[in-house]
């Protein structure tokens, strides 16, 4: 059972999502919040698997909410999916840097939305890998960021795996590419994530671009 928290300032959007999610056998909506602070409180109370967080809200916005959830050790099991009206934009990028697992455009086809929630709950893959990769590459190329620490601590294999993950490859694809077992890939990815303090695969991708391990072109 995937336990989901809805955080959106529009009651009609929440109602729509609730109707959609409740109809699934393996998804349960554990709470609804209309802004960030309330969402944070509900996350602490219910410890959901997935929090759907609207990026723009009055009060505490989605980026700050994501940052607080990602920064709370008690909430390490909560995967944040950012909801956006627009698709690719600066907010989404900031949210991914803040610790979101991925993002979904609100008017995504309901079936894709449900699939996204399932992927996020597993926490081992990127939501829409191609778009995430393009988005991050684009923003990193546009604005210079300080190179994050952590690169020196990675082993060669971990760097290799990180670079491939940043290109949007899944664990299975990386395993096939490097001719090693998926379990080994998973171990390397987890170690790399731990070393660079990435709470999610998306942060590992952000790290890969910012550290220059992967460039937007390749």
């Amino acid at each position: 059972m995937i336990r989901v928290l809805l955080v959106d300032d529009q009651p009609l959007i929440r109602a729509g999502f609730r109707a959609l999610l409740e109809a699934e056998d393996d998804i349960e909506v554990v709470g609804e919040a209309s802004e960030g602070a309330q969402g944070l409180a509900l996350a602490r109370r219910h410890l959901p698997d997935v929090a759907l967080v609207d990026v723009q809200m009055p009060g505490m916005d989605g980026i700050e909410t994501t940052r607080r959830i990602a920064g709370d050790p008690d909430l390490s099991g909560v995967h944040v999916i950012i909801l956006t009206n627009y698709g690719l934009d600066e907010y989404v990028y900031e949210a991914l840097r803040a610790g979101a697992t991925g993002f979904l455009v609100k008017d995504t086809d309901p079936a894709d939305l449900l699939h996204g929630i399932q992927v996020a709950a597993r926490g081992d893959a990127l939501l829409s890998p191609a778009i995430t990769r393009r988005l991050i590459g684009e923003f990193v190329a546009r604005r210079p960021h300080p190179v994050p620490a952590g690169l020196p601590h990675l082993t060669d294999r971990e760097r290799e795996v990180t670079a491939l993950a940043a290109q949007g490859l899944s664990n299975d694809e990386i395993a096939a590419h490097l001719v090693i077992s998926p379990a080994t890939v998973k171990t390397h990815v987890s170690r790399a994530m731990m070393k660079v303090h990435a709470r999610d695969r998306a942060q590992l991708v952000v790290f890969a671009y910012q550290s220059g391990l992967t460039s937007p072109g390749g």
Partner: protein, 378 residues
């Protein structure tokens, strides 16, 4: 400032030349030894002054030579020096001080030697007259130089004022653009919220109906489609507004030919060289490259005087190099003043992680060189 001098009024010059010729010929009648050749020399030396604004150096040479010939042949009093004084003044005003002084010296020493050889007057009086004339020649050279500097100063002040005006206009345009973008954003934000609700609700209702095996009402499908259309149009509108604020659409290197054509027809001969493997550029780099060429050529036509310009675009593996050079008046007097687009160019280049160098060239003229990093498009 050359523009200023080129606009020299020719009509007063013609009048001056004619009047001077008349006076000189009239006074020559009382000078002993004036022959037909002397009259011809007077006429040529004085009438040449009619074009002194357009050709100061030839006029200086002709007038000095003719009047010297007259002075040597007929031994007039000081009056033969007046046309030479005017030519000397004009040459000094056109920054030919040395030549002007040399012409003055040749005329004075030549006529002094002729007077001494003729010995019609006592030596002492001849030397006194020459010293007096020397003073007049010095005054002509100094006067010409001062006048030149004053004209240059006025020209520069005029240019500064024009630049300031242009900068103000640009600022106003930018503000208007920002305001338009702000309105667009607000509209976009509020409308997308509402349309999202429509799309989500319709999408969920359709999804649930299908899931439960019910027939999906046509109305619901229509609502979802309309929502999707509205969203698309809204996005397109915002894009259009966003483009309108910054750049006219399609200002990129593909417009280079028509830009250069315009510049050429405005009187600046311009060559374009494109080297390296041309390829599609990131939009921001493409626009920046175009703007740099545009600004640089504008500056050349404004400040360089008569010149030719060379535009070089090099596609290198890691960067796009844009170079605009001219062979005009890249002098310290006309070194780049803030506001002539260099600041804007530099900001634009820096924002893209590139470098811009702009400086007078050692061999004359001015050079703008921008290096814009290009990575392969994601």
């Amino acid at each position: 400032m050359l523009f200023e001098l080129r606009r020299h009024k020719t009509v007063p010059d013609v009048a001056l030349a004619v009047a001077l010729t008349a006076v000189q010929i009239a006074s020559a009648a009382s000078v002993p030894g004036t022959g037909p050749l002397s009259y011809a020399a007077i006429a040529a030396g004085c009438l040449a002054l009619a074009v002194r604004g357009r050709a100061p150096v030839p006029v200086l040479l002709v007038t000095t030579a003719c009047m010297l010939a007259y002075a040597v042949a007929a031994a007039p009093a000081q009056q033969a020096a007046f046309p030479v004084l005017i030519a000397v003044y004009t040459a000094a005003r056109h920054d030919r001080r040395l030549l002007a002084a040399a012409a003055g010296a040749v005329f004075l020493s030549g006529s002094l030697a002729a007077s001494l050889a003729g010995a019609a007057q006592p030596t002492r009086a001849i030397v006194e007259q020459t010293v007096l004339l020397l003073g007049w020649f010095l005054a002509a050279v100094i006067g010409g130089t001062v006048s030149r500097h004053r004209a240059a100063y006025l020209e520069q002040a005029e240019q500064r004022a024009a630049e300031a005006e242009r900068t103000r206009e640009e600022a106003a345009r930018r503000r208007a653009g920002e305001e338009r973008l702000r309105i667009a954003r607000e509209l976009h934000d509020s409308l997308t919220h509402s349309i999202s609700v429509i799309k989500v609700q319709a999408g969920v209702a359709i999804h649930l109906a299908r899931k439960h095996g019910e027939e999906v009402p046509e109305a619901l499908l229509a609502i979802r489609e309309a929502g999707a259309d509205a969203m698309r149009e809204l996005r397109a509108t915002l894009e259009a507004l966003r483009d309108a604020t910054g750049e006219p659409p399609g200002s990129g290197l593909d417009q280079l030919d028509s830009l250069v054509d315009r510049v050429r027809s405005a009187g600046l001969p311009t060559t374009v060289t494109i080297s390296g493997e041309t390829r599609r550029l990131p939009a921001a780099v493409n626009r920046a490259a175009y703007r740099i060429v545009q600004e640089a050529l504008t500056n050349v036509s404004r400040h360089a005087g008569p010149a030719t310009a060379a535009v070089t675009i090099s596609y290198e593996p890691q960067e796009l190099a844009v170079r605009v050079e001219d062979d005009g008046l890249g002098s310290p007097l006309l070194s780049p003043t803030p506001g002539n687009g260099l600041i804007g160019m530099r900001e634009r280049v820096t924002a893209l992680g590139g470098r811009l160098q702009a400086h007078p060239r050692p061999q004359g003229g001015f050079s703008v060189h921008a290096q814009l990093p290009i990575k392969d498009l994601p």
